[in-house]
């Protein structure tokens, strides 16, 4: 029969399962009592019990409300010692099932092998298996649990060998004897020297071991559990895996759900709370960072980091009573970075950790309290700063430091505020619907004057932003914004002149609109005028990801790099050879999404398949990825293969060197090719509309039609720079066209000039006749235009170099520079001949070439297409056969 407790718990759970609105914070005691017909006094006791057991949580304040803990611990009917294991029903389900099977195996428990990344909890898991064995009477109550960490013996393996296999005497007991009828847990067994390993395998097979120096074999009945990191050498793993029936794989932290991670964090905070003996309070922002930061050493690191944070906070509160608060600044800086990933997991996070809650952990519970509505909503720009000051003061930070921190933070929250404002309006027309025309004209005049005075052209965004800001100020003048005197002083001090200028403006506004503006407003407007110059701060950056085949190469390299450079921007993925492609693909994708810091990923990889994967990932995720191939594995493979064919050492080195240069040349070539494309970028002040129109206008000129034109918006300077840089990575930007020059050291043509020029002459304006000719080719084109009467050299310039480039690629770089030049002239002459209606002599080998080199033949036809289109001609099969025979050197 169900107990009342179960009924209540079930009721609460079901209630929340059915609710769509998860924001609702919980059920009151009265409500539950009515629904279930249980006496309130009884119910209270039951509810408290459930809270204590960590099944439900209660709110702070009156009336007390209850709701189930998301993903609560005991959702299953697990009753064994595994029941407290977080992830029991999800990421660790399989592991637990295997572990139970190993222990409960009839007659004799099976040996198990636990693998997982460092810090995934292998030792903890082994201990749980032991407890499970005791619980199920497989082992006696006081059975030994002997742990051997091979890493501790790294310089003294002799000793270790003796510890294991020496004969027990009256003052020495070997490990097997100590673990007899219990559990022997050997961690990092992959580090063992071969001899010890062999003996261990011997034990696996026979359950007996040979005592050193004797022929005695001793039987030991212990449950053996082995563990090693997942990057242990594959060969060692394999040799053991054959002998070990059970292999438990523990997932790394980033393969586990956020909810599990949340539970882990809760758990660790509770432990800290118990140890410190106080209730620990944290805000949702910190929880979110903890939930998201990259934690390469998994659960263990997570626990340590929580511990470090609490320890730092403890120093502060040691002698004080009252709230024990832990802030993000108490944690290592990398924890803070967790917040960078917030965007990606927003929905999930909002669900687990809603904003504007405080969390309090005590040794056995977590309480979550909502900030009062009022508290939450009035978090305006000024309030935020003042709250921060109080917060900083309470953290015992020096006044002068507070000053610095606040002014930095003010800058950043100000820029956030402004960006938010800007997003509200796109053009003046829209603006006039929100803001009175009078105000618009005041602001316009003000900015014009400021432009002249400071010789700065203010982006329209400043204009819109200022209009909107003033508008909102005028509409709620009753609310007095507050800046501390110090803040005001500092801003005034730094921007004296601008401040005076803005003061005049606000005086004018006060007169015209018959209002009174606080001094903070003047300061605020001053920041509007001066702030935009420093808008470029951004935490976004590129990172490098090293991907290598094998089990540990990439990680070692990344580790080395990070420890040498200390920029913490190198990441690694080791692509185990036995990992199915699809899995590796998903892994790499996850990794890339996780480490992405907004400015793309540079992947350094060792062999082919990774390239395709990354290309696909780039498409799938929209993250920019650039690749550098360092074919180290390929070269080693090549060398090894050649050695096995029995060539002499020098011959091998020579030929490997040669083929190496091929890999590398092919690559540099490819990179420069990418650069060869030229584009024109058209800009528009407000959005993309103007830029698009401009593009269409340019396209009317036939010469420009073939050039790639990219329209971009210019109103967001930061975004523009990012876009431009992205384009520049792939192509050369020949010209920028727009209303005003963004000063990006790219040649600029004002839009006025474009419209003054007739469409037919636009190509001259953009200088397209001479641009792609480097000195050398000028003479060649002169020679050709002199000799080839039928060929339009301008078209030739535009298309032929690309064709030669394609051919070079098709010939896999086997053509010399001279041959390419020869081919260049050859094709130019062919065009001339076709245009003059002369016939091409028959190529006698045509049929042979066609059948033997069909692929190249088709490729050449494809490559010549641009020439055929622009010159309106067709290359005969004989012409193509000629080119193929040059490429293939027939």
């Amino acid at each position: 029969m169900k107990s009342n407790k179960d009924t209540v718990y079930e009721f609460i759970q079901n209630y929340f399962k059915l609710r769509v609105n998860r924001e609702e914070f919980g059920l009151s005691t009265i409500f539950i009592a009515e629904q279930l017909g249980i006496q309130r006094s009884n119910l209270s006791a039951i509810l408290n019990k459930l809270v204590e057991e960590g099944k439900i949580e209660k709110s702070i304040g009156r009336p007390v409300l209850y709701k189930p803990i998301i993903g609560g611990l005991n959702t299953s009917n697990e009753t064994s010692c595994f029941k407290y294991l977080i992830g029991l029903d999800a990421s660790l389900k399989n592991a637990v099932q295997l572990a139970k099977a190993a222990i409960l195996y009839p007659q004799k428990s099976l040996t198990s092998l636990i693998t997982g990344a460092p810090g995934t909890g292998k030792s903890y898991f082994a201990k749980l298996m032991y407890e499970f064995a005791v619980e199920n009477e497989v082992l006696e109550n006081k059975a030994p649990f002997v742990k051997l960490n091979c890493r501790h013996y790294i310089d003294t393996f002799d000793l270790l060998h003796k510890e294991l296999f020496s004969e027990s005497t009256y003052d020495f007991t070997n490990l097997f004897d100590r673990a007899n009828n219990g559990v022997l847990f050997i961690d990092h067994f992959d580090l063992l020297p071969p001899l010890t390993r062999t003996q261990l395998i011997d034990f696996l097979e026979t359950k007996t071991y040979q005592v050193i120096g004797t022929s005695t074999r001793i039987t030991c009945s212990c449950i053996l559990i082995l563990a090693c990191d997942d990057n242990a050498p594959q060969t060692i793993l394999d040799s053991f895996a054959q002998k070990i029936p059970i292999r438990v794989i523990l997932p790394s932290l980033n393969r586990r759900t956020l909810e599990e991670r949340f539970q882990l964090i809760q758990h660790f905070f509770k432990i800290e709370a118990a140890q410190i003996g106080r209730t620990i309070e944290i805000n949702s922002e910190l929880l979110r960072s903890l939930l998201l930061y990259e934690c390469p050493h998994n659960v263990k690191q997570l626990q340590n980091d929580v511990k470090i944070g609490c320890a730092n906070a403890y120093v502060r509160y040691m002698r004080e009573e009252g709230h024990f608060k832990v802030f993000i600044s108490d944690f290592e800086s990398y924890v803070r970075k967790g917040f960078l990933y917030y965007k990606k997991y927003r929905d999930e996070i909002e669900h687990i950790i809603p904003q504007s809650y405080h969390y309090a952990f005590s040794s056995n519970s977590m309480e979550r309290s909502k900030l009062s509505e009022q508290e939450h909503q009035k978090q305006s720009f000024y309030d935020e700063i003042n709250t921060r000051i109080v917060e900083l003061q309470s953290r015992g930070i020096e006044q002068s430091d507070i000053h610095q921190i606040i002014s930095d933070e003010m800058e950043s929250s100000f820029s956030k505020y402004r960006t938010a404002l800007i997003k509200q309006a796109v053009n003046k027309e829209q603006l006039s619907k929100l803001v009175s025309p009078k105000l618009i004209s005041y602001v316009e005049n003000f900015l014009n004057e400021a432009s002249i005075r400071y010789d700065v052209i203010y982006p329209s965004s400043i204009f819109y932003g200022l209009c909107l800001h003033l508008n909102s100020t005028l509409n709620k003048l009753d609310r007095m914004p507050l800046l501390s005197n110090e803040q005001i002083m500092e801003i005034v001090e730094v921007n004296k002149d601008a401040y005076a200028f803005c003061l005049r403006f606000t005086r004018m506004l006060e007169n015209k609109l018959n209002i009174k503006l606080p001094i903070d407003e003047v300061v605020f407007i001053t920041m509007f005028l001066t702030g935009h110059l420093e808008e470029r701060k951004s935490e976004a950056s590129s990172v490098v990801l090293i991907i290598m085949h094998g089990n540990s190469a990439a990680n070692s390299i990344a580790e080395t790099v990070n420890s040498l450079v200390k920029c913490d921007n190198a990441y690694a993925y080791d692509m185990s050879l036995d990992k199915p492609m699809q899995e590796a693909y998903e892994d790499i994708k996850d990794k890339i999404e996780l480490i992405h810091r907004g400015k793309g990923i540079i992947v350094i990889y060792d062999m082919g398949s990774i390239k395709t994967m990354c290309e696909n990932i780039a498409v799938e995720t929209g993250i920019e990825i650039r690749m550098i191939n360092v074919p180290i594995t390929l070269i080693a493979l090549d060398t090894s293969r050649k050695i096995s064919m029995g060539n002499s050492m020098d011959a091998i080195v020579e030929s490997v060197r040669r083929s190496t240069s091929v890999y590398i040349d092919a690559q540099t070539l490819k990179n420069t090719n990418l650069k060869e494309g030229e584009v024109i970028v058209t800009l528009c002040n407000t959005g993309m509309g103007g830029a698009n129109q401009l593009m269409h206008y340019l396209r009317k000129n036939p010469s420009l039609d073939a050039i790639e034109i990219i329209p971009l918006a210019q109103n967001d300077r930061l975004k523009l720079e990012v876009d431009i840089r992205q384009i520049q990575e792939l192509k050369t930007i020949r010209w920028l066209v727009g209303t005003y020059d963004p000063n990006l050291s790219i040649p600029f043509i004002p839009i006025s000039k474009v419209f003054e020029t007739e469409v037919d002459h636009l190509d001259k304006l953009f200088n397209y006749e001479t641009n792609e000719v480097d000195g050398e080719y000028t003479v060649i084109y002169e020679y050709l235009s002199e000799q080839l009467k039928h060929v339009d050299i301008r078209k030739l310039k535009r298309f032929l170099p690309n064709v030669i480039r394609d051919i070079r690629r098709e010939a896999q770089n086997k053509l010399s520079r001279d041959q390419e030049l020869g081919l260049f002239i050859h094709i130019a002459c062919s065009i001339n001949r076709i245009l003059s209606h002369e016939r091409c002599p028959i190529n006698l080998q045509k049929e042979i070439i066609l059948t033997k080199y069909e692929h190249t033949f088709k490729a050449v036809i494809r490559m010549l297409k641009p020439l055929e289109r622009s010159f309106d001609l067709i290359f005969s099969d004989d012409e193509i056969a000629n080119i193929v025979s040059i490429i293939k050197q027939l």
């Binding site: 000799q787 010399s816 030049l821 050859h826 002599p841 012409e879």
Partner: protein, 103 residues
């Protein structure tokens, strides 16, 4: 001096030939210059003092050398591409005198 220019189909060397004839007309000595395609060179080959290959056909050098016992060379790419007649004459002369020296 008789020079035979060979390229894939006799066109690119054709325009070079024109350039060279122009240049030769400035000199007093006699020149005979002809351009032909690789397929046809055996018809003419033996009537010339020197054979010059278009750079795109440099890989044919060995084959032709084995076939015909007259001096033969490859025109450097850039000279070929800009029709540098002077340099090419010089190359032809060098090849001929080198061949004489060997005999």
């Amino acid at each position: 001096m008789r020079i035979l220019l060979i390229c894939a189909s006799g066109m690119s060397t054709g325009i070079l030939m024109r350039k060279m004839v122009q240049e030769a007309s400035k000199c007093t000595s006699d020149f005979e210059i002809k351009a032909c395609s690789f397929q046809d060179y055996e018809f003419y080959g033996n009537d010339f003092d020197v054979i010059l290959l278009g750079p795109q056909l440099s890989y044919k050098l060995k084959v032709i050398e084995e076939n015909i016992q007259i001096p033969i060379g490859v025109i450097p790419g850039y000279d070929f591409a800009i029709g540098n007649a002077k340099a090419i004459f010089k190359l032809a002369e060098e090849l001929i005198s080198k061949a004489r020296g060997q005999k």
